[in-house]
Structure formats: C-alpha cells, structure tokens
C-alpha cells in the first residue's frame, strides 16, 4: 500500500507583532511544520513500520524555503517528497481551497496512492477544508477529523474514529482509496533521530512546476480575496494583579478564600 501525506509549512507569529497591509510584518513571522501534518506523518510512518504501507510520499505546495520543513518529514521516516512551486504562485496572497485542491489532486492522480493522510487544518489559515475537497475532486472516499485509525486495511476498508464535539467519537468504516484528515492526539509524533536527519538529506525531493503536473495557471486564480487584517478588539476587562510572584499569589489566595473554594 502506498500512502501520500500532505505536508504544509505554516507561518507562526510571535506574541508581539505588527500588521503591514494584509500581512503580518515579516520580522514577526517564523515557519514550522504544520502541527496537524506532524501527526499525519507519524500515522503514515507507523503504518509502514507495521508492514501495511510500502511507501510513504509527502506532497507540499511551497517555495524552496520550505525544504527544511519537508526534510523533517523525511527524517521521521517518509521515503520521498514532492514539492510543487511555480512563479505563478509567487504573488498569490492567499491560496484558496479550490486552488490547493487542483494542485494536490494533480499530484495524487500522478502518484496513485491507496490512502492520503492530511492534517485536519493548517495552523495559520485554518480552513480545514482541503482534504475533503481533494477527496471529492478525485473520486476518493474520505473522513474528516480522524483521531483513530485501525492498522488493518486488508479488505480495502479503513476503520476510523471521527472526533465529534463534546467527547463523542463516531466509529466509521471508509472504503479505500480515501483521504483521511488527521486530528492531533491520534498518536505521539516522534522526534527525528540523528540517523534519520542524516538519511533525509539523501532522500529524493521532486520539484515540480504547475505545467509538470498538468495544472493550468488560470485554475489557481483564487476567488477568495483577503482584503483586511487587524488585531481583534480586546473585550477584556481583566483585573491584572501586579507585583512579585509571592504578592500576586497571595492576591489569588485571597480571592479563592473569598469565593469559599479553598481554605
């Protein structure tokens, strides 16, 4: 069985930051492997270790800068990576769900995996829609917000648990091929070993332009336009206790005694 994992490098923002136009000013931004994708990678690598997957391939939409992040996935055990980038993507502020769907679908059709694992959402733009959109687009089955996958996919069925609200899980059987969007907590993502990090440098990373995967530039003209970005108005009317730790702790102690919840 072949597994494809979508991997995104997400922008992270410092606690204190400034906004320039419709973007966070560059000096306050960092980059990291998307947290949800880390769990998706781990699940794929565990399926490989359990002898269920023969090959784990990652796919990323992103510029050369994000190769270091992709190498993290390779260091954790993925076999090879596909990275799609194009000059035409350079000036797009916000790649909307349909544009991402077109690009990822083209790669999936080329790779022909049995199972696609995708993080539930990206930590930066949090659309939580691409995995299901891709599945529908390529005619795969799907399951959103999966927090358990049985490692027994022999009869072409993925038995999963979907994490619903309020501590309820839905037990669902999904026919393969399928896209599963992976929720945090499904496993414990490993740290890459030094050996893994060394090996990752030698693993193949195919870089493809849109034309290479047969995607027309016009299809990535995003319909959704980001027009404004601002810090949400604080509705806070918090009373902040000032002083040293023993002073603030004693303020809190007094409150707890006043409320009658501690003595």
């Amino acid at each position: 069985m072949k597994i494809l994992v979508t991997v995104k490098e997400v922008a992270t923002v410092e606690d204190e930051f400034e906004i320039e136009g419709t973007e966070i000013a560059q000096q306050y931004l960092g980059a990291d492997l998307n947290e949800w994708d880390d769990y998706a990678i781990e699940e794929a690598v565990q399926l490989q270790e359990d002898g269920i997957a023969d090959e784990v391939v990652t796919v990323t939409i992103g510029p050369e800068d994000c190769e270091q992040t992709i190498r993290q996935a390779l260091a954790k055990g993925a076999d090879r990576a596909v990275r799609v980038w194009d000059d035409a993507l350079e000036d797009v502020d916000l790649l909307d769900v349909n544009a991402k769907t077109e690009i990822l679908s083209a790669v999936i059709e080329e790779e022909d995996p049995d199972l696609v694992l995708s993080g539930v959402q990206a930590g930066d733009d949090s659309f939580a829609a691409t995995g299901v959109s891709v599945a529908e687009n390529i005619g795969f089955q799907w399951g959103a917000v999966v927090n358990h996958l049985e490692h027994d996919l022999d009869d072409g069925i993925a038995s999963v648990r979907r994490e619903l609200e309020g501590g309820v899980e839905e037990l669902t059987d999904i026919e393969l091929p399928a896209v599963l969007t992976i929720q945090t907590g499904i496993n414990e993502p490993r740290y890459a070993s030094l050996r893994g990090i060394r090996q990752a440098q030698q693993k193949p990373m195919d870089v493809k332009a849109l034309a290479d995967i047969g995607v027309d530039e016009s299809t990535i003209e995003t319909e959704l336009e980001l027009t404004d970005m601002y810090e949400p108005e604080s509705e806070s009317d918090v009373t902040t206790w000032e002083g040293s730790a023993d002073e603030t702790a004693s303020e809190l102690g007094e409150l707890l005694r006043d409320k009658g919840v501690a003595q």
Binding site: A11, T12, D15, F17, I19, V97, N98, S126, F127, A128, A129, T130, V132, S133, A135, E136, N137, Q141, W142, G143, A144, V145, R161, E163, E165, G167, V168, E169, E170, L171, T172, D173, I174, E175, T184, G185, E188, E223, L224, E225, L226, M229, Y230, E231, S234, E235, S236, V238, T239, T240, W241, A245, T248, S250, L252, G253, L256, K259, V261, A262
Partner: protein, 318 residues
C-alpha cells in the same frame, strides 16, 4: 434577489445549538440579498426537527428523510440537488466536525468557492465579505468573494433564532444513490469517562502548553492537592498523553462551569474557551498579556507559572 440555503446539524436524535444560530446568520444574509431563507433538514426524525426549527425568519424548510444519522454522502447528494432546485446564492453550513465533512465536498462538486469558520458575514447581494480568524485567533481578516459560495459558520457567534415561524415545511424528494455511499457509521462512543467528572468541580486548576514538560505536571498536581481542587487541562496536554481524556476542557472535551477556573499556561484558543467560558470567575496565569485567555479572564497574573505556582502552594500549605 438571491436566496440562502442553510443546513441544520443534529446528532443522535438531538438538534445541535448551531442549527438555531444558522437561522439567524442565514436570515441576515437573506435580508441583505432581499431573498428567502431555506433550511435543509437531512436524516433522522426530520419532521420533529422541522417543527423545532420553524422559528422566526425561516421561509421554507426542506426535509430529506434518509437514515438516522449523519452521512456525508447523503448530505452531499441532498444539498447539491437542493442547490440545483433552489439556485441559492449562498449555502451556509455549521463549521462543526460534520459540517467540515461535507461542506468542502459540495463546494468542489458545485464548483463554488468555500470560506470556512466565519464569525461575521455581510453582503450587498453581489460581494460577500466574510470575517474569519487566522494564526490561532491572533488576527481577524476580512475576505471577499463574488457570486455564489459555500460558507461555514462558527458556533456561538450568532444568537439562536427565537419565536415561532410560519415556514412552509416540505419533504424534498432527493434521489440518493446508495452506490455512491462509501462510508458507514457503525456506532458512537462517549470518551472521557472514568474516575473524575471535571464538570462537577467547584474549583478547577487547569493546565496548558505552558507547562512545557510532562514532569512539570507534578507541580500542578501539588497545587491541586494544596487547594483541594480538581485538575483539568487544555487539549495539547491530553494530545501528549500526559493526562487522560476525561480531564480535557473544551469543544471536543468537557464543558465546565466551576465557581473558579484557574487557567495556567493556557493561551485560550476558541475551542478551549467554548468549554470554560461559563465559569463564574476565571483567573489566568500567563506570561503573555495579549493571550486570548485575557479577553475572558476576570483576574490575571502576568508572570511565569513556575514562579507563581510554588508561591501559591506555599500559601495554602504553609
């Protein structure tokens, strides 16, 4: 004049709160476009649901009786057929776990743009302006698109619709292709049972990412002991396996309403806040004065938890 099609959410025989909120959101859009608000009720006891949802602002309710529980293939087929029949400008669905299991699929199928997890919507009949958060709530953004779209709304952002409506309730004869159904729900399970029910506690000491390492949890256990409080946590602590699921406060965990909730090293993501905002008094201990938890906290200590918590333990033990 363009219409709005909103979709109700239900589970195990109960309508979820967002089903009433989506009427308010949908009504507002329909007012702005000068159109009608249609509501789709799919699967389960649809007639009973339709009666409950017949509140002020709904023009028509379309019921699709097929199966008991949510199935994304049934929803996708029913909604795309309703879309073809009604030709609405906007399809509005909850940004729930189930909403996210079909909304992107219908957007793709109908070749429409999708904007998810919106907290405010506005339209002049042509352009939709959707407000949503990015970077875990650090910023809000407005996003514009022209023409038809699929929109998902965040729960508890719009008030629930009230009153009694006079909507026409009609059974919609959807043509559900059973062969196209590729997933089957075999059951549900409540998780997070066990020794402790955090929703019963009067005083909760709740810990988040700020604890950094599993071994540091002992410090918070000591605090809970000293205060005779119950220990709870935000999602990352449970994801890491440091505490069992029954200790998790939030959207996918428990909703708690203690007399006092002490949030230690918890930034206050919207999913967490959904589970604890009903607490009588909220105290935040956090190094970041701009953390979202400060928006709902009554009292705050902006300081390192590793400095404050030992002092607090001493205060009650000493």
């Amino acid at each position: 004049m363009t219409d709005v099609l909103a979709v109700a959410d239900h589970r195990r025989g109960e309508l979820r709160d967002v089903s009433y909120e989506i009427i308010t959101a949908g009504r507002q859009l329909a007012d702005e476009t000068g159109g009608d608000l249609h509501l789709a009720v799919i699967s389960g006891t649809v007639d009973e649901f339709a009666d409950k949802l017949n509140r002020e602002g709904v023009d028509a309710i379309h019921t699709v009786s097929h199966g008991e529980e949510f199935n994304h293939d049934v929803y996708s087929q029913a909604i795309t057929q309703l879309y073809d029949e009604l030709a609405p400008q906007f399809v509005v669905t909850p940004n729930s776990v189930n909403g996210l299991d079909y909304a992107p699929a219908i957007a793709n199928e109908l070749d429409l743009p999708i904007v998810t997890d919106t907290v405010d919507l506005e339209t002049d009949g042509e352009t939709l302006i959707a407000t949503r958060e990015m970077y875990g709530g650090k910023v809000e953004t407005t996003n514009e698109l022209e023409g038809d779209a699929v929109v998902t709304i965040r729960g508890a952002e719009w008030p629930a619709a009230e009153g009694t409506g006079d909507a026409a309730i009609e059974a919609f004869d959807a043509d559900i292709d059973e062969d196209a159904i590729g997933s089957t729900v075999s059951g549900f399970e409540e998780v997070g049972g066990g020794d402790v029910d955090i929703s019963e506690a009067e005083l909760l000491v709740s810990i988040g990412r700020g604890i950094e390492e599993e071994e540091n949890l002992d410090l918070i256990r000591d605090l809970a002991d000293a205060l005779d409080a119950t220990l709870s946590s935000s999602r990352p602590i449970v994801d890491n396996g440091w505490l069992p699921k029954n200790r998790q406060v939030g959207q996918s965990g428990k909703v708690v309403t203690p007399d006092v909730y002490i949030a230690i090293g918890i930034s206050g993501a919207v999913q967490h806040v959904a589970g604890m905002k009903g607490s009588d008094t909220i105290v935040a201990i956090n190094t970041d004065p701009n953390a979202p938890i400060m928006d709902i906290a009554d009292y705050a200590i902006v300081d390192d938890l590793f400095d404050v918590v030992p002092e607090l333990i001493e205060e009650f033990e000493g």
